[in-house]
Amino acid sequence: MNDDISPVLKICVWVLLALVVAPLVVPVLMSVSDTPFITFPPQGFTTEWYGKVLTDAEAQGTFLFSLKLAGVVTLISLILGVPCAAGLVRYDLPGQGLILGLILSPLIVPLIVIGVALLQTFAMLGSRATFAQLVIGHTVVCLPYVIRTVSGSFVLVNRSLEDAASVMGASPLTVARRVVWPQVRPGICAGGIFAFIVSFDDYPISMWLADGRNFPVPLFLHSMIERSFDPSIAAMAALMIFFALLLVLMIEKAFGISLARLIS
């Protein structure tokens, strides 16, 4: 298959990849600088900033909290998003355009506006459950990503294979498990990854809804930058990059979603 790609296209892809990846290298380099403040190019070499971040109880707490929050949000987004995407693709519902528009609206409306609106709503309801508020807020934002990705997969499902399986006597459950699932799995996994990353990286919604006990990583990073702009911030950023890379590799290993399948 690679033989079909022209050398010009290959060069373009590598240049594009370099442009995308190069900015990620900068914090990694800055994180090993042996200076009390961030500098580029780095001066000296030390790993003490990684030690500072990894042993800091506050950093650990916020990281674990963000993992928990993003995990719950991903799960809920998939539980709500997959049936919703399937329904929107497979059935002719009245007001379908309106439903889709409403679901996708968080992609258009500025997140900071959604955040303040949610805070106002929760205050009017008298809610003090911060974690639940964060889960709802993040789910509102993550759901469009899941629905967009999963509905794309459902559109591409070959319906004749389902018909063939039914004719051959397969039950609806078997058709869903053996015929539909393998075709939509990459889309669902991609939607899940998107949801996880969007939730893990979210700042504008969390800024309004979080509190001292429920404090996600992006808020912690912002707070660290305000406290002191030392290389521990770069170390934290580098760790987040490594974590995202590890996540993609683990999912690739576990689910076998190759890049080609995700693109297709």
């Binding site: 309004w208 509190d211 702009f229």
Partner: protein, 354 residues
């Protein structure tokens, strides 16, 4: 008739004797909870890690702190006005008139705040808030650069493309507008602040000297320390001096025209939960011992008088009150400025957008 046993009598006597001590430790606050909005940065860190745990231990209560900044904290009060979630909010003095006008805050019960007795009148805000930490706003520059003696020098060709200017969305941008008006009119800040509308040609004249705009003080201080720009204007000392104290090649300069006070304040949210506990917390923030350690950590001056500091701290703060006066620490007329600020922000955006 009920007879008391000796053991029961002894227990009752002991509890009677112990009651004042328990009450004085804040027994009335046992189990109560308040949510407060604080700042981020080193100030927020100190409040969360030092002041709150001690306060919780003394009063047997829970204080949940949410880090933010003035605009966000005011936004949170506005969004939760119908059913307040916060009891105490930390904001800059610039926002107090707005919060007061919108009915977001209430007048402080000063009689219940004994520590407020030492509050400097200039940080009392007519009883609608108190100062908590006072920074000085001015220029910050790389130590290899000789700082200008006057603000007017910044308009010279020697600084072409070498200055970092604070973003219009940050409070110190108002200080810059006042400086521009003062340079144009030759009048002191107190008069120049009312001439800003006619001074945007002076603002525009500085454009060739501006390398870029910044909205994050610590980041800008870091860039100047690295030599990416010669001078940054304007910023609060609390964002710059922590770097200087760490040995970074950066310091602040306060040109002859004067400098500005960056006043971090606390306000009592109107109708907020557990008002009595909120007032006790605000009082704690003003206590001398708290203010001393807070100031030494964040390198800001206390708003209360009578605190003794060692020389290393005094080097970075404008304290005592006589020092604030001698440095010409100017506090703008926020009532006048707030009504015009959005229009000024648009004009500044128009000048520096491209």
């Amino acid at each position: 008739m009920t007879l008391l046993s000796r053991r029961r009598f002894a227990a009752l006597s002991l509890s009677t004797l112990a009651a004042p001590m328990i009450l004085s430790k804040g027994a009335w606050a046992q189990g109560k909870e308040i949510q407060i909005g604080i700042w981020g940065g080193s100030q927020g860190e100190f409040v969360r890690k030092n002041i709150i745990p001690q306060f919780e231990a003394d009063f047997g209560c829970t204080v949940i702190a949410e880090e933010g900044f003035t605009l966000a904290n005011v936004g949170k009060m506005q969004a939760t006005k119908a059913n307040p979630k916060f009891s105490v909010m930390f904001i800059d003095d610039v926002a107090i008139p707005t919060c007061r006008a919108e009915g977001l805050i209430e007048e402080l019960p000063v009689v219940d705040m004994p520590a407020a007795a030492h509050l400097m009148p200039r940080f009392a805000y007519d009883g609608w808030g108190t100062g908590v930490a006072i920074s000085v706003a001015g220029l910050f520059h790389n130590t290899s650069i000789e700082a200008p003696k006057t603000y007017a020098e910044l308009w010279g060709d020697a600084y072409r493309g070498k200055l970092k200017l604070v973003s219009p969305k940050n409070t110190p941008s108002v200080f810059f507008l006042i400086v521009a008006a003062a340079v144009k009119s030759g009048k002191p800040f107190a008069e120049a602040q009312y001439l800003i509308d006619d001074s945007f040609d002076q603002v525009e004249a500085l454009k060739p000297n501006i390398m870029n705009l910044f909205d994050n003080g610590p980041q800008a201080a870091n860039e100047v320390a690295q030599g990416q720009a010669d001078i940054g204007l304007m910023e609060l000392s609390k964002y710059v001096y922590p770097y200087a104290a760490k040995g970074a090649p950066i310091t602040m300069a306060f040109p002859a025209e004067g400098s500005f006070g960056g006043n971090n304040c606390q306000v009592l949210v109107k109708g907020g939960p557990n008002r009595d506990l909120a007032v006790a917390f605000m009082n704690r923030m003003l206590e001398a011992q708290v203010q001393k350690s807070f100031s030494e950590f964040a390198l800001t001056a206390p708003p209360v008088s009578g605190i003794a500091f060692e020389e290393p701290t005094l080097k970075y703060i404008a304290y005592p009150e006589t020092q604030m006066d001698s440095r010409g620490l100017f506090n703008p007329d926020w009532n006048f400025i707030n009504t015009r600020r959005s229009a000024w922000t648009e004009r500044m955006n128009g000048i520096f957008a491209v």
